[in-house]
Symmetry: C2
Subunit: 239 residues, 2 copies
Amino acid sequence: MSRTDEVVDGVRRMITGGELGPGDRLPVEKELAERLGVSRGSLREGVRALTVLGVLDTRQGDGTYVTSLDPARLMSSLQFVVDLHGDTSARPFHAVRRVLETEAAGLAAHRITPEALEEARAVLDLAARTLAQDEVDHAAFIEADTAFHRIVSEQGGNPVVTALVEAIAGRTFRERLWRGRHEEGAEERTQRDHEAVWRALAAGDAEAARVRMAAHLLDVEESLPTPARLDEAAQPDES
Amino acid sequence: MSRTDEVVDGVRRMITGGELGPGDRLPVEKELAERLGVSRGSLREGVRALTVLGVLDTRQGDGTYVTSLDPARLMSSLQFVVDLHGDTSARPFHAVRRVLETEAAGLAAHRITPEALEEARAVLDLAARTLAQDEVDHAAFIEADTAFHRIVSEQGGNPVVTALVEAIAGRTFRERLWRGRHEEGAEERTQRDHEAVWRALAAGDAEAARVRMAAHLLDVEESLPTPARLDEAAQPDES
DNA sequence: GCCGTCGATTCATCGGAGGAATCCCGGCAC
DNA sequence: GTGCCGGGATTCCTCCGATGAATCGACGGC
């Protein structure tokens, strides 16, 4: 176990042990380094790693603090590794997104607030206006697409689901997604799908919301590359 | 943007840009530091962060390499942050596990290999023998429980699902889970649920596999604390 | 041909120094 | 009293140099 791992583990113990909680401040570098029996350099490596993971937050001139530990923050590091993958592995990732967003849509049908429903309506109207233009602003449509899905995901009421979906279907992933959807009418079809989801949400029909969202995301999924990959049981290579 | 962030971003670019791929070796510290315009200390902080994220792998005396970038490895860091959460937030995490494993069970019904089916059978038999003893070995039963779920998850054929489930329902999480299940007959009920899932898999009945797995995991979920938490729309505090 | 030894390479760890950002507190003007 | 503004203290950020530890590969003995 390296010195850095001892730092990471030490801070983990301090949090799980109750010594440190969200928002609490850590001892200064010198003191914490002595306490954990490592040099300042090693301590900094460990603290930096925890910062990247979204567990700690360092502020120059101030100190090092434990973050809120919200799922949203903790999952943000996941987005980085997801974006690292190429287009070939987009399908299994999207399958996860589909399953989670479908569940969220079903939950949202019973829980969505009038304000959120209204906001989703506004987003769809904006998207419709975007599509009605002579020269369609694709970036604006993607923006509206993202906003709609985010509202539904959030209204599902499970912060872990929201954070995971956000991490998987992040900016890079979505852009890759739309880059591969050049078929005629893809955006119009998306708009119709969204409208169907919205109607189900407005009606409070959970089953309809699930089905509509699942169908929409399956539609998207079929436009992804390498459809044969999941049919192979064995992993291709690697030790 | 700190020096360390520049290192992380720089390595990310080298990977997404194709300069580096899985298994490739990075330039030595001194060289890479000069190339990215940072000191060796800052470089090491960035490399260490990527190591924790499962992207890089450093070997003393050898060099620094890009990992396989398998979802399983990349999601392993997620387990750390999940385990950081207390018992109070176990429910939303378990809901994600339930949805994903349900999907995996449905997929596995059509894809499971005879060997995996046989292995699952052996695990269930072992669990049954464990429960038949006068003094039940709870640790052994948890082990069998974990093994059964892992087989099903793997046979779902989606490595991202498998990795996510592994990260969420890791060792710490499961131990917390069973610690809260002291009701009479909980283990026997789990065993019966697993048997039902197994029969569905053996019959190749995807719908049955889904329902059985979902019911089983809902059962587990109901034993988790703070059931009222998800019914509150607003987040409790925090800026 | 096999194996051990030794040197070169590379990462791991440590210590120290100066810089930058922030906070806190006292002094000052109004 | 209230508000503003410095200045000092605190804290993290970055850099540099040096030593230790682990690995690899070449060389030579057997």
